[in-house]
Structure formats: C-alpha cells, structure tokens
Symmetry: C2
Subunit: 353 residues, 2 copies
Amino acid sequence: MARLAARSRRPPLLGLLTAVPLLAAVALLAIVALPAAALGQPADPLPSWREGAVKRALVDFVGRVTREGGPDFVPLAERVAVFDNDGTLWTEQPVYVQAAFALDRIRALAPEHPEWTHTQPFRGVIEGDGHAVAAAGEKGVVQILAATHAGMTTDAFGQLVGDWLQTARHPRFDRPYDTLVYQPMLELLGHLRASGFKTFIVSGGGAEFMRVFAERAYGIPPEQAVGSSGATRFEAKAGGMPALVKEPTIEFVDDGPGKPSGINRFIGRRPILAFGNSDGDLQMLEWTAGGAGPRFLGLVQHTDAEREYAYDRQSRVGRLDRALDEAAGRGWSIVDMSRDWAVIFPPVPGGER
Amino acid sequence: MARLAARSRRPPLLGLLTAVPLLAAVALLAIVALPAAALGQPADPLPSWREGAVKRALVDFVGRVTREGGPDFVPLAERVAVFDNDGTLWTEQPVYVQAAFALDRIRALAPEHPEWTHTQPFRGVIEGDGHAVAAAGEKGVVQILAATHAGMTTDAFGQLVGDWLQTARHPRFDRPYDTLVYQPMLELLGHLRASGFKTFIVSGGGAEFMRVFAERAYGIPPEQAVGSSGATRFEAKAGGMPALVKEPTIEFVDDGPGKPSGINRFIGRRPILAFGNSDGDLQMLEWTAGGAGPRFLGLVQHTDAEREYAYDRQSRVGRLDRALDEAAGRGWSIVDMSRDWAVIFPPVPGGER
C-alpha cells in the first residue's frame, strides 16, 4: 500500500514528458531530480518512513500542534515528547543491551572473584548457563546489578560503559550496540526537535547507563534521559576530590506504572506525544493520552524477523500484549516495522569504530 | 569599595568637559547619556549588581567559558549552572514559603478536621502556637506534609499551590511570595542563559511546589527544577481518566549530601557554576568545585536587615556557618547582599495581582 501511494504520483509526470520536445524534457528531468527543498517544497522530514497511515498521522500531528492560530496549536513549552528506549529507539533482542553489559562485566571481573565459580547466579553467567541464571530469579538480578553497577564512583561507571560500547558487538549484527538505533526514530526525534519539541527518553533501563550514549546516539542530553536509578552516596574526603559512589540499592524503577511517576518527577509536565513498544509502556501512554488537547500515542510492533526481530505477545523481552489490545481499541498508532520502515538501522559510521 | 570603583571612572570625563567649548560639551553629554549598547559597547548584563569583586568575577567567568578558542572555553552542552532556591533566588524568611503554604493549608482544612483541635502539631498550627509545633519535631513536620501535600492528584496539588500564590501575602513585605525573588539573581540567570547555559534549581524544597512558579518567576522550566519529592501512585480507573495520586511517603530529600545525588540523578552532568546560601548547599558547591576546568562557586550572605534580612551562623532557617568558612578558605565568591546588590526585589508587576 505504501509503495502504491509512492508510485501513483509519477504517471502524470511521465505523460507530460512524452508530450514535450526533447530539450524541454531534459530540462524538466533536471528539475525532477532536484531535491524537493530546492523547489521550495518542504523536504520529507521522515524519509525512512514509508507512506502510510502512521507516517501521515505523525506528520499531521506535528503540523497541527505547531500551526499558530490553529485549533490544535500547542505552545512551545508544552511540546513534550517521551520515548521508551529498549525496543522503541534501539534493538532490545536477544537481551537488553544493559544486561549484555552486566554479563560481560561479570566475566571480566571473574578472575578477581574466585568464589563466583561456585556461587549462582555468577557461575551460570561465567559458564553461559542461562537456566542457572534464570533460576536465581529476581534475587539473582539484584546480585548481578550490585556486582556490576555499584561500589564505584559515578564517573568510573560512565567510563566503564563508554569503554564497553567501544568494543562490544551485537551477536547477530556484529555492530556496536549504539549503532543499532532505529533510523526512522532518529528522523522522528529530529523532526520533533525542529518543530520545537523537547524529546525525552523514559525508560525502564538505568538512567546512568543511557546517558553515556544518549546524546551521541539520539541527540538527547543527560537531563532528558529519564530511567531507573540506584542510590548514590556523596563522599568528601579531607583534602581529596569529592566523589559520588554508586550504592547497591535500587532507588526508583521507571517501568510500568513507574513511568507516569518518573515523568512527573523528572519532567513535571504531561507529554503530548508518547512512543513505546511493550506492556511496560502502557501506563505512560495512558497518562499521556489522559491530558486535554491533541495527543499522539504510538507503539512499535516488531514484525521484521529478516531485518531485525519479530516478537510481541509471547516474548520474554519486550512483551507486547495488553498494550497492543488497548492501542487497537483506542485507535493509537501501531508501527508495523516491516511495512512502515524503509530502513531499520543507519549505516555504521565510518564502516567500523 | 564598590561605590568608590564606580566613582573613579568619572573624573577624567569631567576634566575633559571643562577643557572643550560649550557646544562640544553638550554634544558629549548627549553621548554620555546614551546607553552603552547604543555606542556599540555591550550593555551591562548585571545592572542590579554593584561594581565589585563578585560582579567582576561573574562577568569574567562567563566571558572566559564562552570565548571560543580560549583556554577556559566550555562547550555549550557542559554549561550547566545550579542554584539553590530558598534564600538564594527568593526570600526564605521568616519561614520557607512552602512552610507558609502548608500552615495556611492546615488552617483552611481545619473545619473538615475537628480532631485537629486536640491533636498536635495541628492544634499548634491552628492556634499559632509555634512552640507546640516545634515540640512535635520531625514527626510533626511529616504529619503536616502528609496532611497538606498528599492524598490528592498531582494536578490538584498544582492548582492549590497556584491559587495560594495568587492570594497569600508575605507578612512583612505584603507582596505575593513569588514576587520576592532577587532581581540581581534574575539578571544572572538571564545572562547565563543568553550565554548558552542551562540553568537549574537544585533545592531542598519540593519539586512540585517550585514548578508551579519557577517558569514564570525565573524562566526555569519544570524539568530543570530539581527538588525533594514524595512518591506518587498511578491510578487508571476503568473508563475514567488516569491520575497520579500524591502519597504521604517522602521519596528523596534533595538537601545537603542529597544535592550532589540529586544533580547526578536529574541532571546527569556536573555543573560548572553553583550558587547557594546555606550549609545545606555546601556539598553541592564541593561537588561542583571538584570537576576539572573553570568553576564558579558563590554564596549569598544575607546582610541586609533593612531591605531584606540579616542572618547567617545562628539562624534556624538558612543557617550559613560551615559553608561560610569553607568559602573563605577556598576563595569562593561571597555576595554581601547589602554591599553587592543595588536592588533586592523587582517592582511588583502591575502594582498588585
């Protein structure tokens, strides 16, 4: 359907070409080859989105809320857009990127922890025994987080994550994780910002983890990356530099019903656009939808096993079930990745890093 | 000293005037009377600051960090400035404004709570018995906060605070509280923003309380107002509008050593300029000072009993003791309100509201 729409604009031009002399045709071809912007028409702000209902709804929404004097105009200060991160802005399969970092980190630290060879969940991580790790349950997750995300300064943690992103590669795509971001979403973030929106991440992942790459990868500054967080302890040693030390205490879980709380706490204003991809984003979309005035609610549905992954109702990571039903019932936009996105990932910058 | 410096620039001009013919002198006077900007000189960005060491240090700092190619140049993204609120941006005497709100709210709610006439700390509030309120200690404070800041939606709370600010008046100045902001600090905030800084509040006060007026009063948007916060609970009633309900649980205290944690959590980047006025700001200043590169650290010392208040080491509200010693020892800038500020408050907008 998207391709038909794109084609349907060409026939009149072709018909015109056969009816005019050769030189004029050549001149006309030159004009046709010019980018739309050079002809005074606005360039397509979302070139990686195929024509279709979702792209139309997005472009229409941004047009309406920015049209001064129009019935749906929204003042600059209220143009707040929130995006989930994992599965909405970048790939979350086969495991969340932050989990891949934590598991690599356990393996790197193992030589300093001989006791891990006979303690779960560490032994399972070291031996690649997923069942043993899963069997350790939530307690195991907390132990892994404590061992990999605490007991160091915030500066040291940022350095560790940055170094890891430089060397780690996604197991299937063999690319740095922070290049596995969705090109259509980068274009949407850019179009929103060019239209006066402030763009925020509101993720269940760790805020300090995301902040290492969010500005470079998405153009989103640290203070606009909202996420889960652990406690920190301020240490001012006499004569030394003060430090913030990461503690093994989880302070705030920014997921599910925590997302509206996180929005309230960090942003302090109700968004008018929200994008997610899983049931953990449902309450964020409900909260965004609940305000007065124009709203855009979107879900990314992963339908492209060939170019990325295909998963929804049954998935362990990024399950999309209740939110899909609610989106259908309330007329929210559902991105069918395979149909709506002409491109999934941007090219790897410089071929390699 | 500040006035001497201002005077010392005039004598040469006066000397010049006596040496030239009358017409030329009149022409010269006309030029002298023109604002600096009209002569191509930059206008004074801080007109309410008297000439002196603090003003010089501020203007010099902003000049250095924004001079491209200079040794102290700081890229746009890293120009983060943090300000305490109570006593640094607005008046905190005789009680914190948020406390005045809470006490007024208790009195307004009293008819619905007959039991308060025989329960402390409520009885003390209703009868204006400060000793009884103080005797209830921290537990009393939490009870007052729970009764006035919880059990309602976030939207309803914002409305209550907004309504209160419209009608409440400061007991001494008889003006709306949110007009008792410091004109010199408004100019500093504006100068910093015009120089590419992001300006944040980092306050021990409640974030949701400040956000009601911070944008109007200081030009600081909600997501740049960091403060203490209570928990919120998301409620999505079938068929109804979703709501965020404020809970009586204090979630985060953004004061003292909590300020660096709050900066890490909400801003995610170390500031290069920090301003406070009390010992509760000491760790924020230490944390800011601890980074590499140019830094500005400032403390407002309340020395002006006539135009505002005079208090420091012995004060119950806004005690400035340890931080004053550390500022002196480390060469941080200390604003002597009575000496450094030509104006304290802006005129009341429209005379009344």
